[in-house]
Symmetry: C2
Subunit: 266 residues, 2 copies
């Protein structure tokens, strides 16, 4: 079997969900992280049944957040409900960047904190944990004003640990000399652990520049050992966005992700 | 006059040094930050005389550092000597990324600390202050393993304040929720203050994506007020790398940099 390995479906972006499920079963992979867009395209109920019937579990749903957009409250409540329907214990929150034309990053960050507070009752009722994901600082203005693990933990702190946790994603956090102290501090707040490698040069727009585990410069095993030492015993999701990876057959990418996990993470 | 404004010559990359000097004089700008490459192309002695005869002062020389490359010690000693010859009080240090194939960021950072220590006696003797520049974390692997102001201050701390300071560059630091505390902590360690704005989308390679002051989302005035409150009273260098800016006439870019400084920084 493949232990704690989970395939985040963003890694194999163009693999249709039924093929992804069959491919995971064939590879002995029993855990997947899913994205709302693909689930919506398939139907939440159908996706839940498809995954369950194949004996897979859903480790996380990506993503809620984007608190800088209109309708964020209803949209995030729907995302929580979808996670619950899929049996996903965790909803990943990408908090959103600055409002258009704004330079007020403090205000945007304060809004993220209060927005999460507004979602906590619904999350608790649904049995879904909100996981604040700090994104790499290069995404601060347009995707996520939460740029460090320390800041994510500050935002989580007012709320019950079963309601609000954080995501540790190696791609987003590896550069931070304070990340090891942050992981130790995080302890049981760690709700999700995602793995991708850092490679250069970055492509235009910088979104699709991640590497499969082992192809870059991140100390992936050190991260896995650190989250374990902090008390995390959950899945290890490989989540890679890269145009070249997306162009390849899903089964081939899954095999390579699994090999990278075995060589560089376990 | 133009007060604390200084033009860093990287902003007008293709403006030949004599034209840049004449253009600054015409615009009433009396301070320039220079780069080693252009000075070397012109000759250090000639460049020093050209600038001095025009009544300009050199605020900083970019750059030393790159401690991950062979011959770094001699190269940095030469850079210190060049700064002294130009009358530049500050040599900016971009510390370099990971050695080829390495994943050991801790070792790279430790090496930066000891390398700076090796340069201190030469810097003190030459009367040139070393200024550790934290670069944006998106450059951590390939340009600079020093990614936060806090880390730069940790590296500077063992050395006399007149020998080792730090650079506060708005482009590299704006995303950090701890930057205000960092600037207050920095106090008299602030050896250089550089201004550029953050704009998206980032171009491929991410080096040439900076905006002239006022074109992006950074709270430039807040930064200027923060460094002032920390005791900094030196020049404000506008330093912008952008392919489109480089394609424009130097005098036009200088005028726009100065206007942006007056509207968004002072």
């Amino acid at each position: 079997m493949t232990g704690r390995f989970a395939l985040n479906s963003a890694t194999t972006k163009h693999w249709p969900l039924p093929d992804l499920v069959a491919g995971c079963v064939a590879a002995g992979v029993d855990k997947v992280g899913l994205w709302r867009e693909e689930v919506a395209g398939f139907g939440v109920g159908r996706a839940a049944k498809l995954v369950r019937d194949a004996g897979l579990t859903v480790t996380s749903l990506c993503r809620g957040g984007f608190f800088n957009t209109g309708g964020w409250l209803d949209e995030n409540r729907r995302a929580i409900d979808e996670a619950a329907a899929l049996g996903a214990p965790v909803l990943v929150l990408v908090s959103g960047g600055l409002p258009d034309g704004s330079r007020d990053v403090d205000a945007a960050r304060a809004h993220v904190g209060s927005a999460i507070g507004e979602l906590v009752p619904h999350a608790l009722a649904a049995g879904v944990r909100l996981a604040i994901e700090p994104l790499h600082p290069m995404f601060c203005s347009d995707r996520c004003v939460v740029a460090t693990l320390g800041h994510a933990l500050d935002l989580a702190e007012p709320y019950p640990v079963e309601a609000v946790g954080v995501v540790v994603d190696t791609y987003h956090l590896w550069w931070d000399d304070r990340v090891w102290a942050g992981i130790a501090r995080a302890g049981e707040r760690i709700a999700c652990f995602q793995v991708a490698d850092w490679i250069t040069p970055l492509p235009a727009g910088v979104l699709l520049g991640r590497g499969l585990p082992g192809t870059g410069c991140v100390e992936l095993r050190r991260f896995r050992e650190a989250v374990d030492a902090a008390g995390y015993a959950g899945p290890v999701e490989v989540e890679v966005f890269h145009a070249d990876v997306w162009d390849r057959p899903g089964a081939e990418v899954l095999a390579e992700a699994l090999a990278g996990y075995r060589t560089h993470v376990v």
